[in-house]
């Protein structure tokens, strides 16, 4: 579903993401962790088509993001860390706009808009202008918009910021259900516990390189072997300067 093939992105002389090769199959929730400046946001921006890789190829559902951008976007849903909403549109009008953009037939789109409004409990403010929304309300609306066209791949950048515990629960349950139905989720997060709870596989990125790639249980094995906590192991990986002591597992 998602394929990075030697994807590299440089900013001037600085390599933000180096030779990233990674395949995330259908139905997997992948969590990308790493400290600030590790290259997570660059990876996400490349995955949603905002940044072009300096080298390499990125595919979504088999579509190259450079040559078949629109086809790739048709399969993508994206929740950025700082979501954009039109201040002078109501929540309802925004969802209508998204439905029209994906050419969802009118009767079906009505049904789906109602579904998302119910799911994310938007009833109270769906007909208010977005300029009056709190951060949490905006985030819930963006989630509703991202799920509206039933994307095959969902990209989330720090998804839980601004959500209240009830909304966090809704999102977590939904992500589990959707991945079970075959949706691929690529999530960037700072929260180790979140990744531990949700992810099928996780990658830990440091200075543009993937220092660890494996399942949560593989990461746990590392912990058990050396009787340390997951947090300590994460800190050790992310503070490593050289990368010689990688604990990465195999499959890229």
């Amino acid at each position: 579903m998602i394929q990075f093939e030697n994807a590299t992105r440089t900013y001037g002389n600085k390599v933000a993401v180096s030779d990233l090769s990674l395949t995330i199959p259908s139905g997997e929730l992948f969590a990308l962790l790493g400290p600030n400046g590790a290259g997570k946001t660059t990876t996400i921006k490349m995955l949603v088509g905002l940044l072009r890789p300096s080298r390499g190829v990125i595919r979504v559902c088999g579509h190259d993001l450079i040559t078949e951008t629109r086809s790739a976007h048709l399969h993508l849903g994206y929740v950025p860390d700082e979501p954009y909403l039109y201040d002078k549109l109501t929540g309802h009008e925004f969802l209508r706009f998204i439905a029209d953009m994906y050419r969802i037939p009118r009767d079906l789109s009505q049904e789906r808009i109602k579904r998302e409004i119910d799911r994310f409990e938007l009833h109270e403010f769906a007909d208010e202008l977005a300029e009056n929304y709190s951060l949490g309300m905006r985030q819930r609306l963006v989630f509703a918009a991202a799920f509206l066209h039933d994307p095959d791949v969902l990209v989330l950048d720090e998804p839980m910021v601004g959500l209240d515990p009830r909304s966090v629960r809704i999102v977590k349950d939904l992500l589990k259900a959707k991945t079970a139905d075959g949706m691929t989720v690529f999530m960037s997060t700072h929260t180790l516990a979140m990744a531990e709870e949700m992810a099928d596989r996780m990658g830990i990125m440091v200075q543009g390189n993937l220092k660890f790639l494996g399942t949560v249980s593989e990461l746990r094995e590392q912990v058990d072997m050396e009787t340390r906590s997951l947090e300590n192991l994460y800190l050790e990986i992310t503070s490593s300067e050289t990368g010689e002591d990688e604990v990465a597992s195999d499959d890229t």
Binding site: R9, L50, R70, H73, P80, Y86, L89, R103
Partner: protein, 579 residues
């Protein structure tokens, strides 16, 4: 069910509907929440439109009776200048809209063509860059049509002429912007600086070569002839502005017979066709350039590394921090902070430099003309009003929202051992000193170029002092009385009720000061020039020495009142504020 991609007409329909819904929501919100502002904007726009119409009506009547042949030249000069300005303004607007806005980041992650995103942002930029043209051009052209007794077809053709014409410079601006970003992202700042420097040099050269070298015969028939011959450079057959001028002149022509009128209208339609064809061609080229460069250019800009500079303490900050006693220290520290923010906010100081720079350029060129004392005095007063009006737009746009913007960082200021009054005072001092220095310089430049006597210069400088104090007091005091802590955009805060009221009060204050000093100073000069005034007692009194002193006292009193009354009210409100 599989999602489907939209075809081109559907994409355009989607973005058109989006703009329509946003515009409708905006208008209904303004109408329901800011009726005062809505009404004020409507009334002021109507007054402005009517004033421009009357001005052009009189001017065209004068020109029509004496120099009908210069109309083509005037139209060409006006439209070619407008074309150049629109190329730049659309280019800048497109840069912000396509590459720096949150909306473009959002739309680029949607299954839309780059051309559709470009067309959406282009329509917005086109409106923003051409509304001034519509507001200024429509009364001018309608006045021309009435004066020339143009056939009805002229008035109907005005709209398609204007709409098709503005697409041409806007498309050129957009194409240049996209090519510049795609081709030279790393050099864009340098390129921009060089372009602006070249434009500034071009304006200087043009002003000088047009008006500068005929000082001795200023405003004489010879000077007029020479200036017109120099302006003839704008009458180039390949320029769209020439097509527009020629088309409009033909459309306004009423022949001696119906056939001749018909023939002129057909000629005008040919020019309209030419403009339309070029507008369509250029918008097609813009769309094509967007298709091939927009996503690449956007990505390149995103990958730009901001230059990290270790900022040293600036000498002025250091000087400000160290001067004076310890008592006023918090105010000085706040001043240093505001100065640092101002220096690093390009949008603030660049507008400051552009507006005051253009004024300085205009004032500098005043020496090219030889005026009588009376005219010089009149122009001096008008220049004082212009400086005040420009300053009031800055105090409303940047100073008025400054207290509201502090609200978002209020927890920092709230934890510091400073009194709330000091925050308000620091804002006032910053605005007052920051406005006073360039305004005094401009007034001195204007008066010296006009060759005004020192007495008049002294009066103007006193007025300038009162204006700077009063305008700063109104903006800071009103900002503290009516803060808006929910809004993060200074433009939106300034556009609210408080900002509008502050602008209106500022304008009234400027009018009061300028009229007060204008009358007495002007009558005094008249008395000096032509001896004892033969008019009524009021004008003699106004022109007398006593009248001069009285007006000066009124200005000082008015300045003090406008400075301290809003400030005191603002401080009182700010003390009781709970952000």
């Amino acid at each position: 069910m599989q999602n489907q991609l939209l075809d081109i007409p559907q994409e355009n329909q989607l973005t058109r509907r989006l703009r329509g819904t946003i515009a409708w929501n905006l208008v209904t919100t303004i109408f329901h929440q800011s009726r005062f502002r809505f009404g004020l904007v409507l009334v002021l726009s109507t007054i402005f439109w009517a004033a421009v119409f009357c001005l052009f009506y009189d001017a065209f009547n004068f020109i029509d009776s004496m120099h009908a042949e210069v109309m083509s030249l005037l139209f060409n000069t006006f439209f070619s200048a407008l074309m150049v300005m629109m190329i730049f303004s659309t280019g800048i607007l497109m840069y912000g809209g396509l590459y720096r806005s949150g909306e473009s980041s959002f739309l680029l992650t949607c299954p839309l063509r780059a051309e559709a995103i470009h067309a959406h942002k282009f329509t917005e930029a086109l409106w923003f860059s051409s509304w001034g043209f519509i507001l200024l051009g429509s009364p001018m052209l309608i006045a021309y049509g009435i004066v020339r007794d143009a056939p009805w077809s002229f008035f109907i053709m005005l709209i398609p002429f204007i709409v098709t014409f503005v697409i041409i410079p806007a498309s050129i601006g957009s194409i240049l912007c996209m090519l510049l970003v795609a081709g030279l992202p790393r050099l864009r700042l340098h390129t921009l600086s060089i372009s602006l420097a070249l434009v500034a040099m071009g304006i200087l050269w043009f002003s000088w070569s047009t008006f500068g070298s005929v000082q001795s015969q200023a405003l004489t028939p010879a000077w007029f002839e020479e200036t017109l011959s120099r302006l003839a450079m704008t009458e180039q057959i390949f320029l769209p502005s020439w097509w527009l001028s020629s088309g409009l002149l033909d459309a306004a022509l009423r022949g001696e017979s119906r056939e001749l009128t018909h023939k002129s209208t057909l000629e005008a339609l040919k020019f309209l066709g030419l403009i339309l064809a070029n507008a369509l061609f250029l918008s097609l080229v813009a769309s094509w350039v967007a298709r091939w460069t927009y996503r690449k250019g956007y990505s390149n800009l995103q990958a730009e590394v901001p230059t990290r500079r270790h900022r040293k303490i600036f000498w002025l900050d250091e000087l400000l921090s160290r001067t004076g006693s310890q008592v006023g220290n918090p105010i000085r520290l706040l001043l240093v902070k505001d100065l640092q923010i101002f220096r690093r906010d390009v949008s603030q100081w660049s507008q400051f430099v552009i507006f005051f720079g253009l004024l300085a350029l205009y004032f500098y060129n005043l020496r090219s003309f030889n005026y009588s004392h009376v005219y010089a005095s009149l122009i001096g007063h008008l220049n004082l009003a212009v400086v005040g009006l420009i300053l009031s737009t800055f105090t409303t746009r940047f100073v008025f929202p400054s207290i509201s913007l502090e609200g978002r960082r209020f927890w920092i200021l709230g934890l510091l051992p400073i009194h709330r009054d000091q925050i308000v005072w620091s804002k006032f001092l910053f605005s007052f000193v920051g406005g006073l220095i360039p305004c005094l310089g401009l007034i001195l430049l204007s008066d010296s170029m006009l060759g005004l006597p020192w007495g008049a210069v002294f009066v103007h400088l006193t007025c300038c002092l009162a204006l700077c104090g009063g305008l700063s007091g109104i903006a800071v005091g009103m900002g503290a009385s009516m803060p808006n802590f929910r809004e993060s955009s200074p433009a939106k805060i300034a556009a609210g009720f408080g900002g509008t009221l502050s602008l209106v009060l500022s304008a009234m204050f400027i009018i009061l000061i300028v009229i007060t000093v204008g009358f007495t100073n002007h009558f005094n000069l008249l008395q000096q020039t032509i001896g004892q005034l033969s008019g009524n007692t009021t004008s003699r009194l106004l022109g007398s020495y006593g009248g001069q002193v009285a007006s000066l006292l009124i200005i000082i009193a008015g300045g003090l009142l406008a400075t301290f009354l809003p400030l005191v009210l603002g401080i009182r409100a700010f003390r009781q504020l709970e952000p």
